[in-house]
């Protein structure tokens, strides 16, 4: 670095150090500036700032928030940051765009109720003919039979900074159509992004424990662990006396496996191989039959009929409700019914609101915020916004942004 650059760098340091952010509530213009940055992820233009300042001065905080929500970067940046941690095991927010994140962005843009995120057949791709963008395409491998649908399309959408808020650039297609994913669809559960993160290798427990319970219900295994639940459905690959100690199994392993193993049957036909999600109707994947000799008397996965044992004890607080179009939350068949059941829980709504609160307010909600969170959750489950829809994610951003005031 030459002397000139060092001098400029010093000045940027100087104004970085001098200008610690104000800790006090400022006038409407300062509030508008902060609000826009939090929701849109970038500074406002002069016109946006003027508009929001005026609205805040009139006490129309929600309307001011919607000015920021209308900015393209709300979709391209903020919603990406909302969805990204759910789409990878490490919960990183700076991952590359993929079809999982794209689905969340598209759903919100098109005012699709967010509780459909685990069931919808929608799938979002770049419009054909976008300059510099690799077309979405399934690829045939060297043997001519396995199909690849790598992430190239979404990488190039991001590299070319295609505006995903523009319906002319970013379109919805049918996920289950043979030319796209081509399996019985269930929202993000059947995207390539989810499959790569959660179905690759392993025993298909990760998609439930991390990909759904932690990501969407904020209920990771350490929270749902309950050793009182009977271990009827614990699979054969779980040692009932690890290290020769049956107490180890009864006091630790059983607490999670008794609950999650009967639920993970929903993924019996799903896998990630050859760089793509695959579905084998009626054929239980080998990965779910692994290490059968560890405890041959254990439960064997024979189909994709799942059983919900979370409804008693402390896990009843998840708030189970019969999803629309179904008759029970106690059991079901396949990944889509599991997705619908999880998305119908109170925990799904609470978790969604809390994550957006944390994203906008830059802190986790405290116990003092609980009543406010409950109020926003109630609003989330009721028709809100324009158009008025249930599970309106944009409206949650507008509501929780009141913490910036």
């Amino acid at each position: 670095m030459n002397k000139k650059s060092r001098g400029i760098l010093f000045l940027s340091f100087l104004f970085f150090a001098f200008q610690a952010p104000s800790s006090q509530a400022g006038p409407s213009r300062d509030k508008a500036n902060t609000l826009f940055n939090r929701i849109a992820g970038i500074p406002p233009s002069a016109a946006q700032l003027d508009q929001m300042e005026g609205l805040i001065s009139e006490g129309k905080w929600r309307d001011a928030a919607y000015v920021a929500i209308a900015a393209p970067s709300f979709y391209n940046l903020t919603l990406k940051i909302f969805a990204a941690p759910k789409a990878n095991v490490a919960k990183a927010i700076d991952i590359t765009l993929n079809d999982y994140i794209a689905l969340v962005i598209g759903m919100v843009r098109d005012n699709v109720p967010f509780n459909e995120v685990l069931t919808t057949d929608r799938y979002y791709i770049g419009a054909p003919g976008l300059t510099g963008v690799t077309a979405w395409a399934r690829r045939v491998d060297d043997n001519g039979n396995s199909r690849y649908d790598r992430n190239d399309h979404y990488v190039s959408l991001e590299r070319n900074r295609i505006d995903l808020s523009n319906p002319a650039n970013f379109i919805s297609v049918s996920q289950s159509a043979p030319e796209y994913i081509g399996v019985p669809s269930a929202g993000v559960i059947t995207t390539r992004g989810f499959a790569e993160a959660y179905y690759s290798a392993g025993t298909n427990r990760r998609p439930f424990a991390v990909g759904l319970m932690d990501a969407f219900l904020c209920t990771p295994p350490e929270m749902y662990k309950d050793t009182i639940v009977p271990d009827t459905y614990v699979r054969r690959d779980v040692d009932r006396a690890p290290g020769g100690e049956s107490a180890e199994y009864l006091n630790k392993c059983k607490g999670c496996h008794a609950l999650q193993d009967p639920m993970t049957k929903a993924f019996a036909y799903l896998d990630f191989n050859n760089d793509a999600l695959s579905f084998s109707a009626g054929q239980v994947r080998d990965k779910m039959k692994r290490n059968q000799n560890v405890f041959p008397s254990g439960s064997e996965v024979l189909d994709d009929q799942w059983v919900n044992l979370f409804t008693t004890g402390k896990n009843a607080a998840i708030g189970w409700r019969v999803p629309e179009g179904y008759s029970t939350f106690l059991n079901g068949t396949g990944h889509k019914s599991l997705g619908a059941t999880l998305a119908a829980t109170k925990a799904f709504s609470r978790c969604t609101v809390k994550k957006i609160f944390q994203q906008v307010c830059l802190r986790a909600p405290s116990s003092e915020d609980q009543a406010f969170i409950d109020q926003v959750v109630e609003a989330f489950e009721a028709p809100q916004g324009s158009p008025a829809i249930k599970y309106n994610l944009k409206h949650v951003y507008a509501e929780v942004s009141k913490c910036v005031q």
Binding site: N2, K3, K4, S5, R6, G7, I8, L9, F10, L11, S12, F13, L14, F15, F16, A17, Q19, A20, P21, S22, Q24, A25, G26, P27, R29, K31, N33, T34, N37, R38, G41, I42, P43, P44, A46, L49, E58, G59, K60, R62, S73, N76, L77, I81, A92, I93, D94, R161, V360, C361, L362, R363, E368, D369, A371, Q375, K402, C403, V404, Q405
Partner: protein
């Protein structure tokens, strides 16, 4: 200079540590018509923009697309040093250098764009050598334009403008050909070089980087 930079780095670290441990509070205005008692005690913390938020913010502020090849190359090379999340704790000592490199690349591209640079340097003739191009009036207009566009107008929580103007005037003078330690060429190339240097100094400051 190295000592000064080290001192500055320390002050940034201290400021960030302080910001991390003390919750910055915004009390809600009681005059809001949509307010309720539940919202009266809501608080908000402070944070940094993430790597991608910085990229798109700089693109919005300069008008240079984030998809620009040179910008993207620099972004990829410094991304791992930029904040990976909004928490203040993700801002490391190396982050400010990375922010500066990214800002510099945007400003270099801005200096090359005859259409866009005009908005930031009213009256600056890029065809002239620095000595002729940077009249006192042009200097003030350019620095004020950078501050207005990068820091916003009418905000109480941005740096003091008159103090900043004076400091950037000093910087610009030190960059002029013939100034002690200056390596700026005396030709028209130097005019663009000074433009991008001052631009980077303002853009890499904290205002565009805080969330």
């Amino acid at each position: 200079m190295r000592t000064v930079i080290r001192i500055s780095l320390l002050s940034i670290l201290v400021a960030n540590t302080y910001g991390c441990s003390e919750r910055k509070i915004f009390q809600q205005s009681s005059s809001g018509s949509e307010s309720s008692s539940l919202e009266a005690n809501l608080e908000s913390s402070q944070g940094m923009k993430t790597s991608e938020q910085l990229l798109i913010s700089f693109a919005a502020l300069t008008g240079i697309p984030a998809s620009n090849n040179a910008v993207n190359t620099t972004y990829v090379s410094v991304k791992s040093q930029l904040p990976y999340e909004n928490a203040m704790s993700s801002f490391q000592a190396s982050s400010q250098m990375a922010v500066f490199k990214l800002a510099s690349e945007f400003c270099l591209e801005l200096a090359k764009d005859a259409m866009k640079r005009g908005a930031f340097a009213p009256g600056l003739n890029f065809a002239l050598a620095p000595a002729a191009a940077y009249t006192p009036a042009v200097r003030s207009a350019m620095i004020n334009a950078f501050m207005s566009k990068f820091w916003g107008e009418g905000l109480s929580n941005s740096p003091d403008r008159s103090e900043a103007l004076s400091t950037y005037q000093d910087l610009l003078s030190s960059l002029m050909p013939g100034a002690p330690e200056s390596t700026t060429p005396a030709s028209a190339t130097g005019t663009a070089s000074i433009f991008s240097g001052v631009c980077a100094g303002v853009l890499a400051s904290s205002t565009p980087s805080f969330q």
